[in-house]
C-alpha cells in the first residue's frame, strides 16, 4: 500500500512564552485538520523529547488527543531525541501500511521555554550517553564540536569553510515568515561568533525554540479522493548507530544516516541525482556536511565543499534548508522532523511562497537524533 500526505500544519518557531505544550500541539493539529478538510483521525503519534524533563509532563498521547477533541482514539508518544518527530511520522506511515489504521496523524511538539539556562542544556544532553558522556560534562554542542574538530583535522579545514551552511540557512529563513531568525548572515561575520563549545559558535549551532508541526497520512488511494495534490511518502526508513561518538570505529561518518538514506531511496526507486531538495538535520554546520556525505550527495570528507560552491542554494544542484533549516527556522527538538516533512510537502505542492524551489517533484528529509544515533529518512514525491 502506498501512503500519502493529506494534511500539514505548523506553528511559528520562537520563544512562545504565552503558549503551553498542549496548545502548541493543538495549533499544529488544527491547521493540519483544516488543510485535510477532515477530523476523521484514527491514531496520533506524538514526537517529543523533553516534555517530561522541562514541562513535568509525560503521557502526551492522551493529553494531545483529549485536547484536540479526539478522545478515545489510539495515541502514544514516540521518543528518539531530536529525531522524535521523524520517528513519529515513521510510526504513522507503518500504521497506515499495516492496514489496521486508516488515517494517522503525526505531531511533533517541543516546549523549550518551560525552563531556562543550564537545566535545559543538561536536558538536551540526555540525548547523549548519560553515564559515559554527559556525566563528564559533555553537551550536545560539545559532542558536535568534538566531531567538527576531528573532521577539520582529518581534511585540513578551517572554521570558515563551514560558513556557507549558515549563510544559506539564514538567506532562506529570511523568506519564511514562520522562521525563528529572519536576519541574513554575512559570510565574513561567521568566524568569531560567541563560542558555545570551541570550535562550535552560535553561528554553527541551531537555536532551540518552541514549536509544533503536524502531518496527516492515509492510503494513496483514499488521498486521491480527498485532496488535490497528495504528496506520496515513497520511502521511509529508520536506522540506528551508537549513542556515543567514542563507540564509533569511524567517528567522522554518520553510519545510521547513510543506512536510512540508502533504504529510503531504494524503496522509492530514486537516486541522489533524482532528488530536487534535501531537508537535512543542520543542528550544527558539521552535521549538515556529514549528512550530505552520508546521503550520497558528496564524497567522504567533501560535504563542506557544497556550501562553498553554491550547490545548496535554492537554484543549486541540491537545495537544502529551504525554509531556513534548523539553523534559521529554529530547532524545536522533537518537532523538527515533522517541520522538515511539512516544508518538503509545501515545496512539492508548489505552495512554498518565496522559498519555492522551482519544479520540485522529489524531496528527501532526514532527521537525526543526537549525533546521529538515530536517523530517520523520508522520500516524498508528487506525480
Amino acid at each position: 500500500m502506498n501512503v500519502s500526505i493529506i494534511g500539514i500544519g505548523q506553528t511559528e518557531v520562537k520563544e512562545l512564552w504565552d503558549t503551553s505544550i498542549r496548545h502548541l500541539a493543538w495549533y499544529a493539529i488544527e491547521a493540519a485538520l483544516d488543510d485535510a478538510h477532515t477530523t476523521d483521525i484514527d491514531a496520533i503519534y506524538v514526537g517529543n523529547m523533553l516534555a517530561g524533563a522541562l514541562s513535568k509532563q509525560n503521557h502526551l498521547g492522551a493529553l494531545v488527543a483529549d485536547f484536540a477533541g479526539l478522545r478515545g482514539i489510539e495515541a502514544v508518544t514516540v521518543e528518539a531525541a531530536d529525531a522524535s518527530g521523524g520517528a513519529a511520522l515513521r510510526q504513522a506511515v507503518l500504521a497506515v501500511k499495516s492496514g489496521l489504521v486508516k488515517t494517522a496523524l503525526a505531531v511533533g511538539v517541543e516546549k523549550m521555554t518551560d525552563a531556562t539556562g543550564a537545566p535545559v542544556t543538561a536536558a538536551v544532553a540526555s540525548a547523549l550517553d548519560a553515564d559515559y558522556e554527559a556525566a563528564h560534562g559533555l553537551t550536545m554542542a560539545g559532542a558536535a564540536a568534538l566531531l567538527m574538530r576531528r573532521y577539520m583535522h582529518e581534511y585540513g579545514l578551517d572554521v570558515a569553510d563551514f560558513a556557507g551552511f549558515s549563510v544559506n540557512a539564514h538567506a532562506n529563513g529570511a523568506d519564511n515568515p514562520l522562521a525563528m531568525f529572519r536576519n541574513r548572515l554575512k559570510a565574513e561575520r561567521f568566524t568569531g561568533g560567541p563560542l558555545v563549545a570551541d570550535p562550535v559558535t552560535l553561528f554553527d549551532a541551531a537555536p532551540m525554540g518552541d514549536g509544533a508541526a503536524a502531518v496527516i497520512v492515509t492510503s494513496h488511494e483514499r488521498a486521491m479522493d480527498m485532496v488535490p495534490v497528495p504528496v506520496q511518502i515513497a520511502g521511509s526508513a529508520i536506522a540506528t548507530d551508537t549513542l556515543a561518538l567514542h563507540d564509533r570505529k569511524d567517528v567522522v561518518w554518520l553510519r545510521a544516516a547513510e543506512q536510512s538514506a540508502k533504504r529510503a531511496l531504494e524503496k522509492a526507486g530514486v537516486s541522489p541525482d533524482g532528488v530536487d531538495l534535501f531537508e537535512l538535520h543542520d543542528s550544527f554546520t558539521i552535521m549538515a556536511a556529514l549528512s550530505l556525505e552520508a546521503a550520497g550527495f558528496a564524497e567522504r570528507g567533501r560535504g563542506w565543499e557544497l556550501a562553498k560552491n553554491g550547490a545548496i542554494g535554492r537554484n543549486g544542484r541540491i537545495p537544502i534548508s529551504t525554509f531556513g533549516g534548523l539553523k534559521a527556522r529554529g530547532n524545536p527538538l522533537g518537532a523538527t522532523g515533522v517541520y522538515q516533512v511539512v516544508e518538503a510537502a509545501r515545496q512539492l505542492r508548489g505552495e512554498a511562497g518565496d522559498c519555492q524551489v522551482d519544479g520540485a517533484k522529489v524531496a528527501l528529509t532526514q532527521n537525526l537524533g543526537g549525533m546521529g544515533g538515530t536517523a530517520v529518512t523520508h522520500v516524498l514525491k508528487v506525480e
Binding site: T121, G137, A197, D198
Partner: protein, 135 residues
C-alpha cells in the same frame, strides 16, 4: 542524588575497568557485554593502563546543570593505548596548549559537586603524560 547510579560505576570511574572479548580479543571501554566488533558475548574484565592520546577536544562554555561553576572546561575524546576511545575532561593543562595527538594519562579528579550539602562525584580525567612532559 543518584547515589546508587554513581556507586555502580565505581570500577569504571576509579580504575578504568572495561572488558575484553573472548572471541576476537578486542578491548572494550565502556564495558558493554556484547562485543562492538564481532557481537560475541564479552564479559571478561580488563583494566586499562590509562595511557592514551588526544583524538579530538572541545572547550565547553555553555555548561549543563552541575557544571556551571567549572565552565569553561575541556572535554576530549582520548584514544586509549589498548584501542578504544573514551570521553573525559582534560585537566592540569591550559586549553590553548591542547592538541590532537598529545599523549595523556588518566588521573582521578572531582567530576562534579552538587552544592555544599550534596554528593561529590569523583572519576577519571586525563592530563598531559608526565613522562612526556619531563622528556
Amino acid at each position: 542524588m543518584e547515589v546508587s547510579r554513581n556507586w555502580r560505576l565505581q570500577e569504571q570511574r576509579y580504575k578504568l575497568v572495561g572488558e575484553t572479548c573472548d572471541s576476537c580479543g578486542v578491548k572494550l571501554f565502556p564495558p558493554r557485554d556484547v562485543c562492538l566488533e564481532c557481537e560475541a558475548p564479552a564479559y571478561e574484565l580488563f583494566t586499562f593502563t590509562g595511557l592514551g592520546e588526544v583524538f579530538s577536544y572541545t572547550t565547553i562554555y555553555d555548561a549543563p546543570a552541575g557544571f556551571e561553576n567549572t565552565a569553561p572546561y575541556t572535554v576530549a575524546l582520548v584514544k586509549l593505548a589498548e584501542g578504544p576511545l573514551v570521553t573525559a575532561q582534560l585537566t592540569d593543562i591550559d586549553q590553548e596548549d591542547v592538541h590532537i595527538g598529545m599523549p595523556v594519562e588518566m588521573v582521578t579528579r572531582k567530576l562534579r559537586a552538587d552544592g555544599p550539602e550534596g554528593m561529590i562525584v569523583y572519576g577519571y580525567k586525563f592530563r598531559p603524560s608526565v613522562e612526556t612532559a619531563v622528556a
